[in-house]
Symmetry: C2
Subunit: 238 residues, 2 copies
DNA sequence: CGTAAATTTGAATGGATTCAAACGTGGTGG
DNA sequence: CCACCACGTTTGAATCCATTCAAATTTACG
């Protein structure tokens, strides 16, 4: 029997409840025995960030890493010409700030795209647990590999091919985050910054997709429905 | 007192000698006590690959990871349209195939760019050592982070901006690998595949760089000298 | 309801791709 | 040893795609 998330339950809000948390099974401490888990619960903070708020900043000395429980986070790097490039988009159960575990400063600026709920895990927690629990090390490595995979995707899927292909691939990626219906939290500017294209081009492509029926806007909810097959064909022409 | 590398010494060739190896200090087993190190030396194989040979292939079940001791390796991913994109360039002391440590198949195809010497580290070695040596876990995590950093560089430096900017940044990156004089092992086609531009554009930009004196070819050796300041200015216009 | 911000659309420009051909170079076999 | 072929590089010209700048329109929000 699966437990529903109770983390958003009023009684538990603003407190980490990793035992009952819905994403526990795909989260860092998944394999820890419950009693060890209890010892660290008190210092794991459940935080909420409003849209566009900064979670941490590139170059800062990091004292914590973060697990995303709801919403989307963008990892941004500033370019020499003043613009900025979105290096990665993090969604449910992704980890931000892993680099602090090896003593590095934050490598990006992390910004909430929409309203974001995250678990803030202080670095000392990790440092205390790692020596005792090899399975936590494994779990950390798996997260690192996921970071690499996501970075590779940013290059191969989001930064290769025509603007249309890139946008289609991004939409498909987002559609797996939420379901078919994505509350288009990403503005055109952010889409451009992810895909390495201009804001105007992103807008034009989206308009064209609506015309072709690849994307359908629903006026009531701020939602878009995706035509997955059509998008798939656009994403990988052959 | 620093030891010179004796790994290329005839007496040691074709055998791993991680105790005396020149890159030992920046290599996976740097922090292991020498006696533990001895136990695994026999199974770490010192290999040489000719240019353009495949070290491993995307999707294969991996039984080993690799440390690069000489030369350059490209990690390639095939695209839907038959072309291929170079995701990363690995050089001295970089690690390829880390993903096998968490039980994953190889995520890219690894191909030797020039003549490459690598240490082949069988997976069981890692699996045996990790539980006993937490410092090895730390070392592995540091490698993973390096992979992430390199992947981010591929995106931000090599896949952003005009063709000229990208080529300049690639040359600067290569110049840190060898010294100022890079034996231009990368063909124009590979340059294009790294930078996400066409072979012809890569060629045109290089020709233009020679005209402007940013790159000077030395006929005798197959070497190019770089004008680092000029390249730096081209790489980051502002 | 009015202002600021984001999106959309247009027209001109520019940069990169594509297709094609010429050039150089290294290797192989006659 | 030279001729010849294969392959990578270079260069040209036409085309196409995306950017840029500008203006119009919509949306968000106090």
């Amino acid at each position: 029997m699966k437990r529903k998330t109770v983390c958003t339950d009023p009684g538990w809000s603003r407190r980490a409840d990793c035992v009952h948390c819905a994403i526990r099974s795909c989260v860092l401490f998944a394999d820890l025995p419950p009693d060890d888990l209890d010892n660290v619960l008190s210092v794991i903070e459940d935080q909420t960030y409003p849209p566009n708020s900064v979670i941490y900043r590139e170059g800062e000395k990091g004292h914590a890493l973060f697990t995303i429980r709801h919403g989307m986070v963008k990892l941004v790097r500033d370019l020499s010409d003043g613009k900025q490039r979105i290096v990665r988009l993090l969604k449910l159960a992704d980890v931000a700030g892993l680099e602090v575990v090896i003593g590095s400063n934050y490598k990006h600026t992390a910004i909430a795209v929409d309203e974001v709920e995250i678990c803030r895990i202080p670095l000392p927690v990790i440092e205390r647990l790692v020596p005792k629990h090899p399975e936590l090390s494994r779990e950390l490595m798996a997260r690192w590999q996921r970071n690499v995979d996501d970075a590779d995707r940013a290059l191969v899927d989001f930064s290769t091919g025509t603007a249309e292909e890139r946008v289609a691939r991004l939409l498909l990626y987002l559609s797996t985050a939420d379901n078919i219906c994505i509350c288009s939290s990403l503005g055109r500017q952010d889409m451009g910054a992810v895909l390495g294209i201009s804001t105007e081009t992103a807008s034009r492509v989206m308009a064209e997709f609506k015309r072709r029926g690849a994307v359908r806007e629903v006026a009531s909810e701020r939602c878009c429905h995706f035509n997955l097959e059509l998008l798939g064909r656009i994403a990988n022409p052959d």
